[in-house]
Amino acid sequence: MRPVVVAGVGMIPFERRDEDSLMDMLATAGLNAMDDAGLGDRPIDSVYVGNMASGLFNHQVSVASALVDRLSLLPAAADRVENGPASGGSAIKNGFLAVASGFNDVVLVVGGEKMREVIGPKATDIVACMTHPQAEYIYGVTLPAMAGMFARLYMEKYGVTREHLSMVAIKNQTNGLLNPYAHIQMKITMEGILSHPQSHINSPVVADPIHLYDCCPVSDGAAAVLLTTEEIANKLKKPLVTIDGIGQATDTHTLQERSDPTDLKAVTLASEQAFKMAGIKPKDIDVAELHDAFTILEIAESEHAGFFPKGEGAKALERGETQIGGKLPINPSGGLKARGHPVGATGVAQVVELVWQLRGEAGERQVKGAANGFSLNFGGFGNNVLAFVLRRKS
């Protein structure tokens, strides 16, 4: 396989975007990535679009074909990649393989989702369609409910408290204030979301023990990366950041069939593969973007990915090690919690953030001297997970 460079990145701010269609968002993010790379009018061989549910949210399918038309990239190859909340990660994997194999030289990967076209409970239902139709969905299970059942066990086993969960929310919303692309721009305090007798009014139960401020918002948004070879990237203008490792692993569809439901095996395996391929270790990572759709997941993933031993993630968080300026800053972008989680966009947005960090372009939230980055895109409830290692070429 030949090295693959992320030569350009682009995003649009994640928020409720009533004025934009899904296609408007995908097109703008895609153009931003092409322009960031300084691609000009050079041709693109192939386009991958990460999107979970445009048919259900927006009554539009075949969105990759529509996008190449909008961007005048004809006759480029175009595919939509659907892998639940890991659609963005899977789209990048496909783009990576196309370039690494020599099949394509220039590939555009765009992830996006327009979720706010439907009302909240409808969005909850659409997302719940990824659960098992007979064994889970019919009972009214939601993704926050899966997180609630997981969190109850994890908290009991490892001594994680609601205070720890709130610390994740506060850290990530604080980081989000430094990210102009983040959906949630609001400072929160422990008193406001947990310790005040009336904090439950601000942060009501969604699926006990998961409260409102343990959940990512429902967002519209899109993000894009332009992937190419070292040879072509050297002719463009940006510092080289390469995708050095990719891992992907799956686990049982239902939580109950895992011998230990607190063990996120797919996270461990995907991360191990990505580190092995990159030839570096978790201790070499300077900045990480984890999939904190629920606060408990940031803690659990930080352990399963190999950054901390099991049960130590919450302690590292307590010591401030995962803040910007700490030993391993996690989610300097604000994560899903603050940046938002337009499902198909997330895996791509995580890689965009890493590229900004590794190039030193992350502004006020810059992790100083970051050279090695890691991202984790968590699909289903941990049944399909992708991990990425990115490095700045010196």
Binding site: I138, Y139, A145, Q256
Partner: protein
């Protein structure tokens, strides 16, 4: 009583629910259909306050139950004070209405 169908691998004995075409442990393809026993214990649960579209209620308790014969399944817990480890008895009742039709599933109440 009508209930779910679980599957026991004829080669290695693994009990599975829902259905898989090959055993999750040994890849075997022959299974014996088994019904869950009448009682089990609660492994984990959540109380859902924000339900999906079409379900107009609050405080719905869902949990994973391990039956005495090893079958594990998600179901509706009809108890206001659930706790991990509590003993439950199973029923087969409507759990949701979809498209004007009542959908039946596993429900559980406390037992000794």
């Amino acid at each position: 009583m009508k209930t779910i169908t679980a599957y026991k691998c004829n080669k290695c004995g693994l009990v599975m629910y829902p259905y898989h075409d090959r055993c999750l442990n040994c890849k075997g393809r022959d299974f014996k259909e088994i019904a869950p026993t009448s009682k089990g214990k609660l492994l984990t649960y959540t109380v859902i306050e924000q339900l999906p579209w079409g379900m107009d209620e609050r405080g719905r308790v869902l949990g994973v139950v391990e039956f005495d014969n090893g079958v594990k399944a998600l179901g509706l817990i009809k108890d206001d004070a659930p706790r991990i480890g509590m003993k439950l008895k199973v029923n087969w009742e409507p759990v949701r209405e979809m498209g004007g039709e009542e959908i039946f599933g596993l429900t559980f109440v406390k037992t000794k």
